[in-house]
């Protein structure tokens, strides 16, 4: 369970202060699939960075499964990211010197998985995002949407208990988006993965158990979780 209390994040650029978050409180239960929506610049990425232990809030508290993650040392936060989180960056953030497959299995290598196993799992997940024939391509040899799917595969490969995805379908056509969202839904269902996903698209809402809307750094609207998740619609 993720609990964020009264998060603020102020960026100072010289004399100008940008208040990206102005007091956001949010609870995400284990196994929830939450959508975060809101206008561009409303603070969605900023919030996700903080939940993903990539940034620290200016004030407020974040606990994950009872652990005060802001109190952890940098090293502990790194291990937390490695072992508990999967993060899909809005700008993919692939390692340009590695192939798609290497990008995906790098964290498994770090976790000490046996070679055979991480190769099989990484290839499997790349296949599931539709990149079976792009495994040996490097970032510069992949389209935007393909890069995005490599980023998704990298976030999923270790079956993290929490998946944070920042507009993971931004560069995908609706058909591919749907297959990615179906994949998320299945992981959420089968592995009880907690998923927090930023999105712009109205039709994504049907996948989310609830939607949190941000408006100018504040929560504008927070629906109750629909206990009964309807089967994903057939059409986009």
């Amino acid at each position: 369970m993720i609990v964020a209390e009264n998060l603020t994040r102020v960026y100072t650029m010289g004399r100008v202060e940008v208040r990206a978050l102005r007091g956001v409180s949010l609870e995400v239960e284990k196994g929830e699939f939450v959508g975060i929506m809101g206008a561009s610049g409303s603070g969605k990425s900023t919030l996700l960075h903080i939940l993903g232990l990539l940034d620290r809030p200016t004030s407020g508290r974040v606990t994950v499964d009872g652990t005060d993650v802001l109190a952890l040392s940098d090293h502990q936060r790194t291990l937390f990211r490695l072992n508990r989180l999967g993060y899909v960056f809005q700008d993919y953030a692939l390692i340009g010197e590695l192939t798609a497959l290497e990008n995906v299995y790098l964290t498994s290598l770090v976790r000490g998985a046996p070679r055979e196993e991480y190769l099989r799992r990484s290839a499997g997940i790349l296949e599931r995002v539709g990149l079976a024939d792009r495994m040996d391509h490097r970032q510069s040899e992949l389209s935007g949407g393909e890069q995005q799917r490599v980023a998704i595969a990298r976030a999923l490969v270790n079956n993290p208990s929490i998946l944070l995805a920042d507009e993971p379908c931004a560069n995908l056509d609706s058909q591919t988006s749907k297959s990615i969202l179906d994949l998320f839904a299945r992981l959420n269902e089968d592995l009880d993965q907690t998923i927090v996903m930023v999105s712009h698209e109205e039709w994504h809402k049907e996948y989310f158990c609830r939607v949190v809307t941000l408006r100018d750094g504040l929560i504008g609207d927070m629906a109750e979780c629909r206990k009964e998740r309807p089967p994903p619609g057939r059409t986009a």
């Binding site: 490695l82 953030a93 390692i95 790098l106 770090v110 976790r111 000490g112």
Partner: protein, 400 residues
């Protein structure tokens, strides 16, 4: 658990394999050139020193030189002393020399310089002058009115003397008059002209010891006895050995004998060498640092991403250090190849110094020192920027 070093090596290798080949080649080349620079001058200076030493041993002094005890002008009972010394194991030969400062006269010209009286067969067993005849022949034991002359003293027709003793054009077969310090004057026929490139020797001349003893009224006496040992470099041991055999005369190594001249030169060269090495090292530090720093800074975003996906900064830093180690190793190898090339070239076409041609002498300690300094510098140059960036805020690094 996993081995962090393995991940570092994986990242380092991919980076080398897939990073910019141009930058890689340039970095390796720079390190190679710095390496050559670090060992080139020392090798030439070692060559000069080596040259001094061999020249002293081969033509001028021998490995050891026995000189009259304090207060005497000559060594007495030379023959028995020679026998005594030659019995010592490791002694290859001895050659007594009588030395006199004389004036040479030739075709109305004159020159003041040294004349040595030698026993030709003994001299052959110690020095290599006999192998360096430009014209004519070396002396024989029975020669009485023959002289052999250094090429500088013989000189060339029409040349400017330039401060050195020169008779300007003596050739084999000519007659030269020699005025001894006791007033005696003799006429000798020039039997040979030699060139050793050793300044002291090329400005002198030789007659037989028997002839010179006759003129100076000496009997079984010599100004010095040159001693040749089987191997070079162990002069100190042999000196102790000689003294332990009860030799009463002064025994000095070639190094001690030439001390004033060679040691001073060596000392000056060592100072030049130290300064040059220091400057090269500082340049090396700066250049390697800049190249690797830029290289690492360019990968700022990548370092940020690695941290973001949960890779410990120690692993990231190590991957850069490993890259740098690899690049430096290849650079040092390339540098060694390059240095070997330069050395081979300079051995085939040596630099010519006043003491003769100088062959570069690459000394193992100098090479090791260069390699060690290069590695030390590179590791620091790779570590610092990687460490700096790896410590940076993740999002700042990712934004670049």
């Amino acid at each position: 658990m996993f081995s962090g070093l393995q991940v570092s090596a994986f990242l380092a290798w991919k980076s080398i394999q897939r990073g910019s080949k141009g930058t890689l080649a340039l970095t390796i080349m720079i390190i190679a050139l710095i390496f050559v620079n670090l060992i080139f001058l020392p090798s030439i200076i070692s060559g000069v020193v080596e040259n001094f030493n061999t020249q002293s041993i081969d033509f001028d002094i021998g490995n050891l030189i026995i000189e009259p005890r304090e207060g005497s002008q000559y060594i007495e009972n030379v023959t028995s002393l020679q026998k005594k010394v030659e019995r010592i194991p490791g002694i290859a030969g001895t050659s007594p020399r009588i030395v006199a400062g004389v004036t040479y006269f030739y075709k109305g010209r004159n020159a003041a310089s040294t004349l040595y009286g030698i026993t030709p067969e003994d001299e052959r067993s110690v020095t290599k002058i006999a192998d360096h005849m430009l014209a004519g022949e070396f002396l024989s034991n029975g020669d009485t009115n023959a002289i052999i002359m250094g090429t500088t003293l013989a000189g060339e027709e029409g040349e400017e003397a330039g401060g050195l003793p020169s008779l300007q054009g003596v050739v084999v077969g000519d007659s030269v008059e020699v005025a001894y310090p006791n007033g005696e004057v003799r006429t000798y026929r020039v039997k040979g002209i030699y060139e050793t490139q050793s300044f002291n020797v090329d400005t002198a001349a030789f007659v037989t010891g028997r002839e010179m003893s006759g003129v100076l009224g000496l009997n079984d006496q010599a100004s010095a006895i040159l001693v040749k040992t089987d191997v070079n470099g162990r002069e100190e041991e042999y000196k102790t050995e000689l003294l332990s055999y009860g030799i009463q005369e002064e025994v000095r190594t070639y190094r001690e004998k030439a001390a004033g001249f060679v040691d001073q030169a060596v000392q000056s060269f060592n100072i030049i060498n130290t300064i040059s090495t220091l400057v090269s090292l500082i340049i090396a530090i700066v250049v390697v640092f800049i190249v690797i720093f830029i290289n690492t800074v360019n990968r700022r975003r990548q370092i940020g991403i690695l941290k973001a996906i949960g890779i410990d900064q120690g692993i990231i830093i190590n991957s850069y250090v490993l890259q740098v180690l690899f690049i430096t190793a290849v650079g040092a190898l390339a540098g060694m190849a390059l240095a070997a090339g330069v050395t081979t070239y300079l051995t085939a076409y040596p630099l010519v110094f006043p003491g003769g041609p100088v062959y570069p002498v690459v000394e193992a300690p100098a090479v090791l020192r260069s390699i060690a300094s290069l590695f030390a510098v590179s590791v620091v140059a790779g570590y610092i920027p990687a460490w700096q960036i790896a410590r940076e805020d993740i999002l700042t690094a990712i934004r670049g």
